[in-house]
Amino acid sequence: MAILLFLVPVSIILLGIAIWAFIAAVRGGQFDDLDTPPIDILRDDDAEDLPRHDDRAD
């Protein structure tokens, strides 16, 4: 059962990492808007090959 002495602390560390990651995600605003982003993936983004307004003016 000595393996438990290794595995249990590992699970605790993983738990800590998971909580840290979750808090970072919340603080980073990942959960602020759950309604708009889903629609973003509904179309291919061809914005890159479009000239931006400033480029056109040059």
Binding site: A18, F22, V26, D35, T36, R52
Partner: protein, 814 residues
């Protein structure tokens, strides 16, 4: 998603009925019609920017684009915007509100449009809260340019007033999320360790391993109990200070009891620990509460956004006559504030001009302009029309009528419905009774089997927590209100939904609720060889700045001429010079025509001869037929009780198929009609506009007010429909009925569960972890059952498919 038909009678962009001469633009190879230049150029820009997917993605029509948009130059002044702009690493950032965002596609469009602009570092729009965040580089662009781009797409930006409160709400929500996350992850681990202990059924585990597991469990469950469970503990302290017993007391004491006893057992090496029960309890209850709160927030965010849309800047006239722009907060009582035409009034005050007109839609919902004389009161949030005006400020900030009304709305929302309060009271008595029962059970078990006494009592406390009972009604109601807000319906009275579910009759209070009040050009008859386009250009030029309601009939004429020396003769018409000719437009007598004096006709003449007759009609709401059909399919009896004359009322009623029609009704007779229906035992819903029909609306069991455009949370009605669609009425009634059904299911489930669980637990058949799971599952069942209400089955009717023409000629006499 709305089907986009190539040839529809509605504007391609905003979905409003088309004028007689729509603007046309070729989009994707098909010529599309638009109600105005603003919409046409917005659509053109969207096409040019290759953002045409917007039209595919959107689930709601866009707002109408206001062409005479505001001057945004003031937004560039640093001194005025200081409080609103954040400086981040050389960039600037601002959050503005917009009232036009109706679905996620709008947010998508704004986001893309802004990112295409030069100098924009980052942009984000949130359709739920109606907020647009823009971060830009001041060296490369100006805020006014960006805002004009947003405005030209139909989303008019406003400064949000309650930035601090907004931020506080976001921080609070994030804290709840973190609590939930910690509880979820912690509970998962704690249960995993508990499982290891449970699986040791034959007692083969060594004492050292067992204690090791227990100490580790303390480590992971402590944050769950004390950090995640803090809202419950704080709630218990609050309730104890207030000397009452509530749900929080029960939850927190059960959790702390389970945790505390487990810690003691761990220390002295006792046979049982109940950490799993404690953490599960906290996690599942937190999840239920979070869901309830989320539903509540969605409902309130939308009201907020609209109630707080007011100007951020004001123009003050100094003693020497010069003018300066100041932030709204700097305006004081006694100052003279100036507004250009199209500006919002910054504060309540007294008019200093001889004549001016204001659009009071935000306060009263009256969409036509109100004329005011010198000395009349002018209110903050109304919009100055036609000509500039000056007011002497009387009330500022929180004392303005706008702020007071916004507060009223907030109060109405904070109010707990009576049914929910009743459930709370029952639950509170239940908690007290439960405490007594727990003591009795503990004493009994001490006698029967002292070793199990604590465990059984704990299980009893946990399993019979009446959380499900107290969640049954509020969750269903707040989810329903969230769903309502998504529909664009605001419930002003908390128990409106309850009454609505019982409605048997719907009375339409006015013809105006079925027609949209927008004048349309029906037909143009020309004399003396003038052609139609010429006539329209002259008429549009004369009407353009008149502010007269009929002027909207000419909105679609885009190449109007220029009229000078325009003079409005109230009640008769308007005259002015166009290309050197003095034209008169108005009633037959005014123009010198030999015709009936009918408001449904306008005549145009040049002083010597009559050139044209313009027929004006009022269009029915595009969706009136669909809505009426849907209402009938819900088994409701429909009535129309209007103050208008017999003819137009009969015409509208027959077009829509309403049989029970009463015309020329005074408010008293309408009220008597409602009373007579109620005496027959019917439950009556009244649909009006909430303006001058408040007493009639109040007499009905429940009332709807229709509010076009900006949401007018201030109307005197139980339910305000902020979305310009009659279809919302059957949808709301259907939702109310489903809510009632869900509440009944919830109550039955919660009561049944408690009545069943209590004796089982008292008899010792339930262990604490089973109790926590059972209790929480019952709470979750109730919440999830309530969440079913967010799924909207669309009210589809046969009329949807058969709908052809949306506008019907209907004239109303004065």
């Amino acid at each position: 998603m709305l089907p986009i038909r190539p040839e529809s009678a509605d504007c391609f962009h905003c979905g409003e009925p088309l004028p007689a001469v729509p603007s046309r633009v070729v989009i994707d190879g098909a010529s599309q019609a638009f109600c105005c230049d603003g919409c046409a150029s917005a659509a053109q820009w969207i096409r040019d920017a290759r953002l045409g997917d917007y039209y595919r993605l959107r689930s709601e029509n866009a707002g109408k684009v206001d062409v005479d948009s505001v001057d945004f130059a003031l937004w560039d002044r640093d001194d005025l915007m200081r409080d609103h702009i954040r400086h981040i690493e050389g960039d600037r950032e601002i959050t503005v509100l917009s009232d036009g965002m109706r679905c996620a596609a709008c947010a998508w469009l704004i986001d893309r449009a802004l990112r295409r602009e030069a100098g924009v570092v980052d942009a984000g729009a949130n359709a739920v809260t109606g907020r647009i965040r823009i971060r830009w580089n001041p060296a490369r662009t100006q805020l006014s340019i960006l805002l004009r781009r947003v405005a030209s797409l139909g989303y008019r930006p406003f400064l949000s007033g309650g930035e601090a409160r907004e931020e506080a709400r976001r921080v609070e929500r994030n804290q709840w999320l973190i609590r939930l996350g910690v509880a979820g992850l912690g509970a998962m681990q704690a249960m995993m360790f508990a499982e290891a202990l449970y699986l040791d059924t034959r007692g083969e585990m060594s004492m050292a391993t067992r204690d090791f597991f227990r100490w580790v469990t303390i480590l992971v469950s402590s944050p769950v109990v004390f950090y995640s469970g803090w809202p419950f503990i704080a709630g218990m302290l609050r309730e104890l200070r207030g000397r009452r017993l509530g749900m929080d007391t029960l939850i927190a004491s059960a959790t702390l009891l389970a945790y505390g006893a487990s810690v003691i057992e761990t220390i002295r090496g006792g046979p049982h620990v109940w950490f799993d029960a404690a953490v599960m309890f906290v996690f599942l209850l937190l999840a239920a509460r979070m869901l309830e709160q989320r539903a509540r927030n969605i409902a309130s965010a939308q009201v907020d956004a609209l109630a707080r849309a007011r100007p951020a800047l004001a123009t003050r006239e100094l003693a020497d006559g010069s003018r300066e722009a100041v932030p709204l907060a700097a305006l004081e009582v006694g100052d003279i504030a100036c507004m250009a035409a199209g500006d919002a009034v910054p504060a309540d005050g007294v008019l200093l001009e001889a004549h001016a007109s204001f659009e009071e839609a935000l306060l009263t919902g009256e969409s036509s302009h109100v004329s005011k004389q010198v000395g009349d009161s002018v209110f903050a949030g109304t919009i100055c029309r036609e000509r500039p005006a000056r007011i002497c400020v009387r009330e500022v900030g929180a004392n303005t009528r706008l702020s007071q009304l916004a507060r009223l709305v907030e109060q109405a929302q904070a109010h707990r419905p009576p049914l929910a309060r009743l459930a709370d009271r029952i639950a509170s008595h239940f908690v007290a009774a439960l405490a007594l029962i727990a003591v009795a059970v503990y004493i009994t078990w001490r006698v029967i089997d002292p070793s199990r006494a604590f465990e059984v009592t704990l299980a009893l406390l946990v399993v019979s927590c009446p959380c499900a009972l107290s969640l049954a009604i509020p969750t269903a109601l707040s989810v329903a209100h969230g769903a309502l807000a998504k529909l664009g319906v605001l419930a002003m009275r908390p128990d409106a939904l309850e009454t609505l579910a019982a409605v048997t009759d719907v009375v339409f209070d006015k013809t105006g609720t079925l027609s949209d009040g927008r004048p349309l050009l029906a037909d143009v008859e020309t004399f003396h060889g003038f052609d139609r386009a010429e006539i329209l250009r002259i008429a549009a030029a004369l009407e353009r700045d008149s502010g007269h309601p009929l002027a909207r009939a000419f909105d679609g004429v885009d190449d109007a001429l220029i009229a000078t020396d325009v003079l409005s003769v109230p009640g008769f018409g308007i005259e002015g010079d166009v290309d050197g000719v003095r034209w008169r437009l108005g009633r037959a007598a005014f123009v010198g025509a030999d015709g009936r004096d009918d408001q449904s006709e306008l005549w145009l003449g040049d002083g010597t001869r009559v050139i044209a007759r313009l027929g004006i009609r009022e269009s029915t709401r595009a969706d009136a037929l669909d809505a009426i059909t849907a209402l009938r399919e819900l088994g409701l009896r429909l009535h129309l009780s209007s103050g208008d004359g017999a003819n137009p009322v009969a015409r509208i009623a027959s077009a829509l198929g309403i049989d029970d029609v009463h015309s020329r009704q005074t408010p008293e007779r309408k009220l008597a009609f409602v009373r007579s229906l109620q005496n027959e035992g019917r439950c009556v819903a009244m649909v009006g506009d909430g303006l001058n029909d408040a007493p009639v609306l109040a007499g009905a069991d429940v009332s709807f007010a229709l509010a076009d455009g900006a949401a007018l949370a201030q109307r005197a009605a139980d339910l305000v429909i902020a979305h310009p669609s009659l279809q919302r009425i059957p949808e709301t009634i259907a939702l109310a009925r489903r809510t009632r059904r869900v509440i009944r299911q919830n109550l039955a489930w919660a009561l049944g569960y408690n009545l069943l669980a209590l004796p089982l637990a008292a008899a010792g058949f339930v262990t604490p972890w089973m109790a926590a799971l059972g209790m929480a599952l019952s709470s979750l069942t109730v919440t999830l059952n309530a969440l079913r209400l967010t799924r909207q089955p669309k009210v589809e009717t046969s009329a949807h498919r058969e709908r052809a023409a949306t506008a019907m000629p209907v004239t109303t006499p004065p």
